[in-house]
Amino acid sequence: MQPTSSMNKEFLKKWQMGLQIFRPSIDNTSVSERKRAIKLSADVAMASLRKGTTCWSRALIQKTASEDNFLVRQMLSGIKEETLINKKLPKVMCHRKIVRRSKKILMRRKSRSAMEEVAAKAKKLVKRKTQGLRNAVPGGEFMSNNVLLIQETLDYIVSLQTQVNVMRSIVDAAAAGIER
């Protein structure tokens, strides 16, 4: 799973579309405003490549839409809106009996050997890191299990690499233009 040239092309096309939407307003604004516009359009372009099939792309679009609804609407005119909504996970109901039983088990666990202690520590560490990954990937809180999380992370990384590649090449082109 490496970013392919066709993906780059597609992304470039979408991003171009987004920038064109911004073009009328982009001339007389500050640098930070312009930067925001570029970033948003690049994000939406990256997310729209997946056409709402992945969790992270939907979450990213939702996040961008909360900042700039007009842009998102313009850029995603081809994609159905229902596909872009993340469904909230059902809240886990805890039965009182089960909770009590698990507490009992936890109490029992306090007396365990050193080996078990180390294993439990490692497990805890992995759990914390997984939570960190959940926070780093957009929409991570919607991913129900770890398998899905890692799969989405794979996809997200590939997309990010595409984005970075294209943006870098354009920046390079611009820098070369300035040097001339």
């Binding site: 794979l154 984005q163 090449s169 354009i170 233009g177």
Partner: protein
């Protein structure tokens, strides 16, 4: 599969028999006793014979497997005795086949014992049935249920046999075999399958994330992945910032490029696909080629136009080396 269907229709036939006269039903039973196959044996089996029989019947178990269950189901529809318990047994047997062979053997033995019991029950039943006509309707409903179950069983069986060629068409069955000394209850098997899936995905991630292949341990790998994702995100931030600082001119340039690129797409795209990027950069080829396409532009736009398709449509790494060294330094200071 065709054979199984045949069996199922036979079961249906027997089902219809249940609604017919007692005499015909008895004839059906008789037929059944003379049914070719191991069921006729089972009526004469004593304890010593079972093992030998099992050896003969259980040798090529996965292949014959679907066959045997459907036989059993056909039987079920005939004998309305202890239907419910039998069905449970079949379900269990199916599980056993997926899990371990030893378990299968045990289950098989158990089933044989049940079968023998049922043989005895059949004879009792035949006398009882004459009096109980009203109960038949209830039982026929049960049989309908059984038939549904049998169909389900057929599905799973066909799945099992096709497992060898196509690994898994349906995902709700877990095709995992327990190795020696591993737990065989369904929970541990599911957990193991999940863990294997995760580790497989992690391997992909390891390939994708640079510098992750040296790290062992899940926590370290996750750490590296998080760092990489964050660095990529920061890079995007930085790049968009950089783009914004040069943008008033650049935005127009991009627009121009793309307006022209769409028009002259066949011209620019064809050589790109044929030639590797470094070749094109080193030789003066793209400039000449682009010149022909963009004659009416000023030189600054030309450079951008010529560099852009190159670096965007290929990996971009080779082009950066040629174009700008201090931007490269900036990236390396970012950590990638």
């Amino acid at each position: 599969m065709m054979m199984m269907n045949g069996e199922a229709t036979e079961a249906e036939l027997f089902l219809n028999c249940a609604d017919m006269s007692v005499l015909e039903r008895q004839r059906a039973h008789l037929n059944h006793h003379h049914y070719p196959g191991f069921f006729s044996n089972s009526s004469t089996i004593n304890g010593g014979d079972i093992d030998g029989f099992l050896a003969s019947a259980g040798l090529d178990l996965p292949a014959v497997y679907g066959y045997t269950t459907v036989h059993g189901d056909a039987r079920i529809s005939v004998t309305p005795g202890n239907i419910t318990t039998e069905s449970g047994n079949f379900k269990k047997r199916k599980f056993g086949c997926v899990e371990t062979e030893t378990k299968v053997c045990n289950e098989k033995k158990k089933m044989m014992m049940m079968m023998m019991n049922r043989e005895a029950a059949v004879e009792e039943e035949e006398e009882e049935e004459k009096s109980k006509v009203t109960e038949q309707s209830n039982k026929s409903i049960m049989m309908m249920k059984m038939k549904n179950k049998a169909k389900k069983e057929q599905n799973s069986c066909s799945n099992d046999s096709s497992k060898v060629t196509k690994d898994s068409q349906r995902t709700d069955y877990i095709h995992v075999r327990a190795r020696r000394g591993q737990a065989t209850d369904s929970h541990s098997i599911a957990e193991r399958a999940r863990r294997e899936k995760i580790s497989e995905r992690m391997k992909f991630l390891q390939d994708l994330v640079p510098g992750c292949d040296k790290i062992t341990g899940k926590a370290g790998m996750l750490d590296e992945i998080i760092n990489y994702v964050q660095s990529l995100q920061r890079q995007v931030e930085f790049l968009s910032m950089k783009l914004a600082t040069v943008s008033p001119r650049l935005d127009f340039n991009i627009d121009d490029i793309f307006a022209k690129e769409v028009v002259s797409a066949p011209m620019t795209n064809l050589p790109n696909t044929v030639m590797p990027p470094h070749m094109m950069v080193n030789s003066g080829y793209p400039h000449e080629m682009v010149d022909s396409g963009y004659v009416h532009f000023n030189p600054m736009q030309q450079v951008v136009a010529s560099s852009d398709p190159l670096s965007c449509f290929n990996n971009g790494q080779s082009a950066t080396n040629v174009w700008d060294s201090d931007v490269q330094n900036l990236y390396s200071s970012l950590g990638v």
